[in-house]
């Protein structure tokens, strides 16, 4: 073992093990979240959700995954093939990269980069490309409108998202996620920055295209938005990415505002997952309660409310820090 380690370098081994771990977690997370979403939706809608496959329907997501895997991979005749094939694969890259820098526990982090949050934000912007490729490549009008909406939405909401995180970075003088968590040893940052937390959370929900901001895939208008033409495993990849994105948004919120893995009695990873899944639950709760906003209203919320508010917040934080 020592020899192998010396031969290819400990860092590489750690990286590979970490990536495999991340892959396993992504799949597991998506399985759990699909089950949880259906259960949450069920109980909110006066029904019980899945119950036939396994105890409490726990095996249901596996059955669904097998079904999706077993489906014939259909390619519509008129699609732009390279774009159409690449889109579901590319959507997965930023998702995986984000996990590399998220600290699950004090020692459970694939890599602690000193520009951690920038890596996540930079890569999550890439998912727009994939959506654009899917929307354009599908050669379908619904898909195209969905993709256009998605891009406008993502650009509009990335700004408040970043601006809401900036005060924390100013307070800690660090881009590293781990040092941000360590800085919250006493009080969580949500106490100092409640507005930033709210702005981040709203923008995060919009970034993940969830109700009330699910315009890119608005079912009653666009059938399924940018992934209308996808089926089988390709559709499953979009689905997987969506659920992973929800987790990432929640995980960053926990890391920046809710003390990350820190908490009494229980091990850090338990605290981290508990807090993250609580936020995921809130996102699901929103989805099954609210109607969808209109496109111009969506952009208005970002440009006219969230961005000015986060700038004011940033100014106040800067002023207070200087004092």
């Amino acid at each position: 073992m020592e020899q192998i380690g010396n031969m290819i370098g400990w860092e590489t081994v750690k990286m590979v093990v970490g990536l495999v771990g991340v892959l396993v977690f992504v799949v597991l997370n998506a399985l759990i979240l699909t089950w949880a979403e259906r259960k949450v939706a069920g109980h909110m809608q006066r029904r019980i959700g899945p119950k036939e496959v396994g105890p409490y329907g726990l095996i249901q997501p596996i059955a669904d995954a097998l079904k999706l895997l077993g489906k014939e991979i259909l390619t519509p005749r008129e699609v732009d093939k390279p774009l159409y094939y690449l889109a579901p694969m590319i959507i997965f890259v930023p998702v995986l990269v984000s996990f590399v820098v998220i600290p699950f526990d004090a020692s459970l982090q694939v890599m602690d980069i000193n520009v951690g949050i920038l890596v996540i934000l930079a890569f999550s912007s890439l998912s727009v490309f994939s959506i654009l490729m899917a929307g354009w490549g599908s050669n379908n009008k619904y898909a195209l409108i969905g993709a256009i909406r998605s891009i406008a939405q993502n650009i509009a909401y990335e700004i408040p998202l970043l601006l809401a995180l900036l005060p924390i970075i100013m307070m800690t003088n660090s881009f590293s996620l781990k040092s941000i968590v360590e800085a919250q040893h006493g009080l969580w940052f949500v106490v100092y920055q409640p507005f930033a937390f709210l702005i981040y959370f709203i923008a995060g929900v919009a970034e993940t295209n969830r109700t009330p901001f699910d315009l890119p895939e608005a079912e009653s208008e666009l059938v399924a938005g940018y992934h209308t033409e996808y089926s089988g495993m390709r559709f499953a990849l979009f689905f997987l990415a969506e659920y992973t994105n929800i987790f990432i948004v929640s995980a960053i919120a926990v890391t920046f505002f809710l003390g990350g893995y820190q908490g009494p009695f229980l091990p850090g990873i338990i605290w981290f997952l508990l807090k993250s899944y609580l936020l995921v639950f809130v996102i699901m709760w929103l989805r099954w309660t609210y109607p969808r906003v209109r496109f111009d209203q969506l952009l208005n919320i970002s440009w006219k409310a969230l961005i000015p508010l986060s700038f004011i917040n940033l100014l106040i934080t800067g002023g207070l820090l200087k004092l």
């Binding site: 009330p212 009653s220 209109r294």
Partner: protein
């Protein structure tokens, strides 16, 4: 009102006499036969006096074709039947779509079913049928469609513009609740033009009626509007009873009111859920289904079915209601009343919902009249018109309820009107239950074989979606000579293109939902 219109119409028409009909037998007060040169003048005459075109009907009498225009008034009860005879060999009539916009679709419908061409109509293309039809279905004799006609009728082709593209909303689309297709001409997210394409569910109920006895046709009525079949049943049986003069016992009248109102509730509940699903909130759909299920459970033991009811009979009912029904209905009233506050909190008070619906799809009173919209859409536009008040059938005349109206005429008003109508329906049921008399449910005077006397009748009832008009022509045989169904969704859909123009795609979905369309009813 009737006297005044008679005098003024007589002065306008000069030579042609204006007849006075027995309203209780015929469903209209005045009638006149005009020459085709006078038709436009007559249309303008009614337009100036605030009438709306309730129905445009064509009847094939073999020697001649007759166009029947029913003009009606929102403010006071006055119905006028104007007829125009046309030569079946060369069927041409002037269009009145320049005066009454709603004639635009009615005339297209008559063109493809009777072959009557309308002079000056801007768009004589197919509305329901497709190019493969080679005869005019509602003519009494088989008349082949000429090639010229086929070419003219099948002219609808959406083409792409320079900066615009076409999107098909439907026929298989989550928000059209059925097989309605709307061809949208889009400029980015904005709609430049909307063109509904109908007929995906066309079953030709009107032709079926000509081949069945009056009783045999009764189950068809429930198949037209699958969400409010009770009101369609009620409209049909009361129409035939009116035509034949069959009396109905008191108890049956009260039970009819209770069941029709229960059905109205289930229809409005269904609309509420579906509308919110259109706006992206999926949970209320399941909540209203929960309530709707209760209604179905109450109606099932009495009527024997849960969706397409066929419960009323000429002269009474199929089955009497029992104490369990009365108790169950009372319990349901309590339950639904307590749910309204929940809906108000979840939906009516939701800022996203109100922002989505306020100020979109605004219908002015004038446009509502010109397009002959009816029901909650009309009341949302601010006109207090309810057939249950103005022309009460069954025991509606004895019920005490108000007619809610909107102030802005937008989609939010339609929502509020429907919610208040649900509350009203509960009040009506409660009153009817309290006064429910004992006695027979079926008259003994109902003839075994129905042969209504010669003549015609235009009969209207208020369905959950608005004014249902049934025009029956009887030739003393046991089958109707001609039966026309003026259905509310058809008229309400007509106003959609002008509401959608210039709006966002998301608004078009919200407007379409606020009209509460049932597609099988439009297509008949």
């Amino acid at each position: 009102m009737v006297e005044r219109i008679k005098a003024e119409l007589g002065a306008t028409l000069k030579e042609t006499p204006v007849g006075e009909a027995d309203y209780r037998e015929r469903g209209y007060h005045l009638f006149a036969e005009v020459a085709s040169a006078d038709l436009l003048n007559v249309a303008r005459f009614f337009d100036e006096r605030g009438f709306y075109l309730a129905a445009l009907i064509c009847v094939d009498y073999k020697e001649y074709l007759e166009l029947v225009y029913i003009f009606s008034n929102h403010a006071s009860l006055c119905k006028v039947k104007i007829t125009l005879k046309i030569d079946p060999a060369k069927p041409v009539a002037p269009t009145i779509s320049t005066v009454f916009d709603c004639a635009y679709w009615h005339e297209r419908e008559i063109r493809e079913f009777f072959g009557v061409s309308f002079d000056g109509h801007p768009n004589m293309t197919y509305l329901f049928l497709h190019e493969g039809i080679d005869f005019y279905p509602l003519r009494k004799e088989k008349i082949p469609v000429s090639d010229e006609d086929k070419k003219a009728l099948g002219a609808f082709r959406p083409g792409e513009g320079e900066d615009t593209f076409f999107v098909n909303l439907g026929p298989q689309h989550p928000s059209t609740h059925g097989v309605l297709r709307v061809v949208l001409k889009m400029d980015g997210e904005y709609i430049e033009d909307a063109q509904p394409v109908l007929g995906y569910l066309h079953r030709m109920h009107e032709k079926m009626a000509e081949n069945r006895s009056y009783l045999q046709f009764l189950p068809n009525t429930g198949r037209m509007d699958y969400l409010g079949p009770m009101a369609f049943n009620l409209g049909y049986v009361t129409a035939v009873e009116r035509l034949c003069g069959i009396p109905v016992p008191d108890r049956a009248n009260y039970v009819r009111v209770i069941l029709t109102e229960l059905n109205r509730l289930s229809s409005h509940l269904m609309w509420l859920g579906a509308y919110l699903a259109d706006l992206g909130a999926l949970t209320p759909f399941l909540f209203v289904f929960d309530d709707r299920e209760e209604i179905n459970d109450i109606l099932e033991p009495v009527t024997g079915s849960r969706l397409t009811y066929c419960y009323f009979r000429f002269g009474g009912l199929y089955n009497d209601v029992d104490d369990a029904f009365v108790a169950g209905t009372r319990a349901f009233i309590e339950r639904l009343r307590s749910r309204f506050s929940l809906y108000e909190k979840l939906v009516g008070g939701n800022v996203i919902f109100t922002n989505r619906t306020r100020g979109i799809g605004v219908i002015t009173k004038e446009r509502a009249r010109k397009q002959a919209v009816s029901g909650p859409v009309l009341r949302g536009a601010g006109i207090a018109m309810d057939m249950r008040k103005s022309e009460p059938c069954a025991a509606y005349g004895k019920m005490d309820f108000d007619v809610p109206v909107g102030t802005r005429g937008d989609a939010l008003d339609m929502y509020q009107v429907r919610i208040r109508e649900m509350e009203n329906a509960l009040n009506i049921i409660e009153q009817a239950l309290a006064r429910l008399p004992e006695g027979p449910i079926m008259t003994e005077k109902a003839p075994r074989k129905l042969k209504p006397p010669k003549g015609d009748l235009y009969h209207t009832v208020e369905t959950p979606r608005g004014e249902l008009g049934i025009y029956i022509v009887s030739d003393e045989s046991d089958k109707p000579y001609r039966m026309k169904w003026r259905v509310p969704s058809f008229s309400n859909l007509m106003i959609f293109p002008e509401l959608a123009k210039g709006n966002l795609l998301a608004d078009a979905v919200a407007i379409l939902g606020s009209l509460d369309l049932v597609i099988p009813e439009i297509d008949r």
